[in-house]
Amino acid sequence: MPWRQLAKMVRDRLIFTGQLLFTLLVAAFLIVPAGLSIAAGVTVNYFRGIQSGLTLQWIAQVWELYAGTIVSSFVIAFATLAITLLAGVPAAYALLIRGGRVARMIEEIITLPVAVPGLAIALALLLTYGGFGAFRRSWLFIVVGHVVFTMPFMVRSVMAVFATVDIKTLDEGGASLGAPAWRRFWDIIVPNGIPGILAGSLMVVTLSLGEFNLTWMLHTPLTKTLPIGLADSYASMRLEVASAYTLVFFVMIIPLLIAMQWIAERRGVR
């Protein structure tokens, strides 16, 4: 009997070690290039390695060359957020209160852009609105693309929270006390949807900041966002500058990621 137990222990130990090594290998595949990119962004000469010295000159150069793209990315992300909030939150309420076939159909349609490649949506927008010169050349054209792409995430995130707090009963309770519809929406519905609105907002901003597929087709030389600048630097700049630019992107996106994870944990999902 002790022999069998020993054999079982050894086998379990081997399985555990094998799985751990495999997991570490996968983690290395994901994290090593990110680490390389961070290191290269602050190294004087990537070819000669870290012993060539550390520097912030590449970051300074990125700021000089691409500050505009960073600013515009934030402007576009917050404009997208404003529109998805204004249109998405009331819509989530209406879709949930109304229910039925029409509501499901609308939900299905606004979710389509999640499944359809950004390239197709961008082409469609270009074919339809490409002739409206002023609109096509402005930031708004990119914002429109981002709104179409991110709207389902806002609506679904808010709807998910509305569904858990039984918004229908709350709404009817408010109505029985004689509160008008818009007051109920503002005083009862919106405060109850805050966790969903927050989660949706983080999602929208993160997606908008990183969006490339649509934006590449919709941008003009005067309307470049950060991912467009990134692609440009990957194609035409030395590795150190491209890395420093990527580093800037990491610094922007990581707080958003952490906030999203924090909210998800607090809500006890995932």
């Binding site: 555990f16 799985q19 751990l20 495999f22 997991t23 996968v26 983690a27 595949f29 994901l30 994290i31 290039p33 990110a34 390389l36 990119s37 990537y46 529109i83 204004l86 998405g88 009331p90 819509a91 209406a94 879709l95 109304r98 609308i106 349609i109 606004i110 979710t111 852009p113 999640v114 499944a115 359809v116 490649p117 390239l119 197709a120 949506i121 082409l123 469609a124 074919l127 339809t128 709104v147 179409v148 709207m151 389902p152 609506v155 109505a175 519809a181 818009w182 929406f185 990183g210 490339f212 597929n213 590449w216 991912p227 990134l230 692609a231 990957y234 590795l239 990527t246 990621l257 995932r270």
Partner: protein, 271 residues
């Protein structure tokens, strides 16, 4: 204002935005696809034209290979992380999910840093006296790029699904004499099927339709999104690019719709 009226008013901005900036443009895309020299047959060109067909086959094979590899890797890792408790586990989870918010272009750059002309593997392989390994600017670079993109997503899905499994079932199987492999094969993996279908569909649809990674690695990788892009920008071939992107959109939508009916969850492709 009546309550019904208010509800409609709440819905109005969304309906207007969606109609003007999604439905109308998609309808236009559909019409443009049939507006070329081939007419409505443009939609069949992807099957009848040898060059397009080759690209389609290429894309589907790449997406299938990526999906299979991602599923195997993420299942092993996801189950391991969900089952075992050890020092550094949460750090490992953080590392494995860190790339979730990377856009396709950044993923492409990560692959260049690994397997590009100045990449780590090339450096290591020449130092060890072998040939310089450079794989980034080919379909293999794209394969690893999509792997990089999909692994974190699928790991999360598998972990969430494994958490909901009833450990009693496994214990029962074990007490009935099933070995560890038999328990995995007959109890754990079948119970995870919905999660496999959902996350496999996302990985597949992403690998079919993503554009950023391919664009960063090389503009001449022969996959569908790059074909659409070059037909549109370089060849100015509106009808073909419209028809191809409608086809691609329908395929990715169908894959995700099937997956959703399996899992009951919203699934998203991106990249």
């Amino acid at each position: 204002m009546s309550h019904r009226g208010f509800v409609w008013l709440c819905l109005l901005p969304l309906v207007v935005l969606t109609a003007a900036f999604f439905l109308m443009p998609m309808a236009r895309l559909l019409v443009t696809g049939a507006d070329g020299p081939r007419g409505i047959a443009e939609y069949l060109a992807i099957l009848t034209e040898a060059r397009y067909r080759a690209t389609l086959v290429n894309t589907v094979l790449l997406a299938a290979a990526t999906t299979l590899a991602t599923m195997i890797v993420a299942t092993v890792v996801g189950l391991f992380l969900q089952r075992r408790r050890f020092a550094g586990r949460s750090l490992l989870i953080a590392v494995l999910t860190f790339p979730l918010a990377f856009p396709g272009v950044v993923v492409g750059f990560m692959i260049i840093l690994l397997g590009g002309r100045q990449g780590l593997l090339g450096e290591l392989s020449t130092r060890l006296g072998g040939n310089k390994i450079v794989f980034a600017y080919s379909i293999y670079g794209l394969f690893f790029g999509y792997l990089y993109f999909s692994i974190p997503r699928v790991i999360l899905t598998i972990m969430a699904a494994a958490q909901k499994l009833d450990p009693g079932l496994e214990e029962a199987a074990r007490s009935l004499g099933a070995g560890p492999w038999a328990v995995q094969r007959d109890v754990v993996l079948p119970a995870l099927t919905p999660a496999f279908v959902a996350s496999g569909a996302i990985a597949f649809a992403t690998a079919m339709g993503a554009f950023g990674t391919a664009f960063t690695l090389a503009t001449n990788i022969d996959v569908l999104p790059m074909l659409i892009y070059t037909e549109f920008t370089l060849a100015g071939n509106l009808a073909t690019s419209a028809a191809l992107s409608v086809g691609l959109g329908i395929v990715t939508w169908l894959i995700l719709a099937v997956a959703r009916s399996f899992s009951g969850n919203a699934v998203a492709a991106a990249g």
